[in-house]
Amino acid sequence: MIGRVQLPSPRPASGSVLRIPSLDRRQILKSGLALGAGLVMGLRLAPRAAAAEAAAGEGLNAFVRIAPDGTVTVLSKHIEFGQGTYTGLATVLAEELDADWSAVRVEAAPADAQRYANLFFGIQGTGGSTAMANSWGQMRTAGATARAMLVAAAAAEWEVDASEITVAAGIVRHAGSGREAGFGPLAERAAGIEPPAEVALKDPSEFTLIGREDLPRVDVPAKSRGEASFTFDFSVPEMLTAVVAHPPRFGAKVASFDDAAARKVPGVVQVVAVPQGVAVLAEGFWAARQGREALSVEWDESGAETRGSAEILAGFRQKTRQPGAEVRKDGDPEGALAGAAKVLEAEYEFPFLAHAPMEPLGCVVRVGDGEAEAWAGSQLQTVDQGTIAAILGLDPSKVRLHTLLAGGSFGRRATPTADIAAEAAAVAKAAGTARPVKLVWTREDDIRGGYYRPPYVHRLRAGLDAEGRLVAWHQRIVGPSIVTGTPFEAALVQNGIDSTSVEGASTLPYAIANLGVDLHTEPVGVPLLWWRSVGHTHTAYSTETFLDDIAREAGQDPVELRRALLAEHPRHLGVLELAAGKAGWGSPLPEGRTRGVAVHESFSSFVAQVVEVSVGKGGMPKVHRVVCAVDCGIAINPDNIRAQMEGGIGFGLGAALHDEILLEEGRVRESNFHDYRSLRIHEMPEVEVHIVASAEPPTGVGEPGVPPIAPAVANAWATLTGESVRRLPFRRALQERS
């Protein structure tokens, strides 16, 4: 997902050229509730196209429609890929609308850069765990505004004073006259009423849906019965299925190809060259795949990345000895290190990682006459829309993009290049067919297709004084930039520093008088991308394990040391104390088990985890239990917060234990789940989640559960075995040691 967007973000102007508006996330967060009020104005009615595609019902504003039978349809501008956003956004709107929860449905909003922009990005898109944070005020205002319109409609119909009308659980009532009605009969009249310029929002003490423990997710029944439909399941009449033969090395191009055998495969309809490779279009997946197997392609690899992971990392390691671009400097870190009684030093290595969402990537495109339509699990909708439009030579308004449920993403569906939408559009264009085209990626395409979490090398140094106090800290990060050269560069790269490379290190909360962070940005010829929790995937690991090394050196308890260094950070401290307390930090454990702790803030949410670890099969860590504490502001749906922490922990743990994408002479070694191993059920620890009660505006939970798990496990492992693991994944680190 997208890194902390605290700075202006791109907005598509025409084609793929992006322009930057000036939205500041911190200002937006500060302005809180007032925000939605201004922005929802002028959005009252959906334009014709959207209204026509919508099911029956009156649009009271851009986010809610009410049908004659009282069904309340909430339009989600954010994609649902497992994080629970459909349920969360609908809860917030329904809360202020005083809707009957059982009548609430959720639908994906159509792609629209104006009405459905992420207020932190300026484009429509989901990432950086911002869906709730940017929508909170907007969805509350949308709900309250719609409620006021229903009340006004009832007042007019019943000829009573609006101030005497109450609304609860989907029923509008006037006690004096004894009249009442559901939303359905009032909807048409309400839609014709001018929305109020200002609406009062509830005091949190009045919430009946927000914070409820028993509010089920809207998507769970269909997903439990195999009825949920994803891009892979989507079809339109006459549709062809396409797979593309991609080059074996990044940056290579098609030199020539022979498709004679491929065309003989029954069901294969067409073979065409596209900028991404050679596409085989067929009547179905299997024929397309068999056709691709039968292709022979010569690749021009003159511009390709031919280095292996080992060479790339060796290059990074050399840079750790030279000063990089300054990211943060408090006090005099070098001076303090030089004067320290004891200096600790450690170097860390992190591999390329693939996202491997459970549903492989895909996109359906239908090219019509002067217009087009696309269906996909689109995470940056208006970037995908603009890219398809540019490839097809259309205005973005002529491309209707439908966001479908996605089987996971973890950031992969949010490419600034709109790679999947672009490939689908390129195939449809090259084929020149009136038949709709469904592009699908196999798992091999996915694992080998790039857009990885980049590799990094970190070097950390710490200075202790004669009493063992931490007086100096310096962190050097070496790695490529994710956003340089993309439309996100202007927003996320300042003075040559890509904030997604250093977040978590640059924001280290510990009270250390002399603290420095610097960065070497080293390009690699591989498509790179944010991966669930972005920079925090590596910075939380190095900072939190290094701090434990320091605690050991100083003879201090790791929780005690953190407590002392976090005195000025109450929210970090709050989750640390909660997790440590619930985990029984310091109490005896069964023989052969130790505890480890880590605390980290990401995307304005605070998470601490305490793990219990023993030596498991094959000498690998076995994680028995995780106690997790999270502070994400007001808890909209506590059960979903727990689910996201559980999921983040399992996702992060699987990668830390097993996963890496290894380049060998530029070729990706891994290809599928047998060698890009995911966490499996027998490796999943028991997870216990505790939520800090908070009145702060809600922040995200999709990513923040990930960063602490790997360092917490490494810290327990170091206590257990005396071994500090400084290279991920564990599997490789432990293999190379033995």
Binding site: R217, K223, R225, G267, W286, M358, E646, S678, M684
Partner: protein, 156 residues
């Protein structure tokens, strides 16, 4: 090639190239898209269906090798075990993205059909071949126990 297979209690006759995996016949020829594609190499379990009640990976099973065995997909489930599993799945709120869940549910039903009170090790053993990238594993475990409890009449 003409193939005749029994899917969800109906005899279906269809055309397919020899070697086509059952998965694609179900999804594309019969429109039964509840069975998912996740890896194509019997590594993830997303494509799990039942053959005579036993779980198999339909992505690596050539359609002609099905023979006269009964194929059951998630669309064709019925009976007390299926009901208990679906109810428990909803009660525990298992799914996140949902994409792996058909496979998880199919494997669980096959497990509970032969072992009505599996312990955690039995659950882990049966489900180790079903990847969930969203890591809904703790809830899957709870939901399997919940369904087992229902079947014993202990709950619901």
């Amino acid at each position: 090639m003409k193939v005749t297979i029994d899917v969800n209690g109906e005899t279906r006759e269809l055309e397919a190239e020899a070697g086509t995996p059952l998965l694609w016949v179900l999804r594309e020829s019969l429109g039964l898209t509840g069975t998912k594609f996740g890896c194509g190499v019997a590594q993830c379990g997303a494509c799990t269906v039942h053959l005579d009640g036993r779980p198999v990976r339909s992505c690596v099973m050539p359609v002609e090798s099905v023979g006269d065995r009964r194929v059951t997909t998630i669309e064709g489930l019925s009976g007390d075990v299926a009901d208990a599993v679906r109810t428990s799945w909803e009660e525990i709120q298992v799914p996140q993205c949902g994409y792996c869940q058909s496979g998880q549910v199919m494997t669980t039903i096959a497990l509970l059909s032969r072992d009505r009170s599996p312990d955690d090790d039995a659950i882990d053993g049966a489900l180790a071949g079903n990847i969930c990238r969203c890591a809904t594993y703790p809830r899957i475990r709870r939901a399997v126990h919940g369904a087992a409890g229902r079947l014993k009449g202990g709950r619901g």
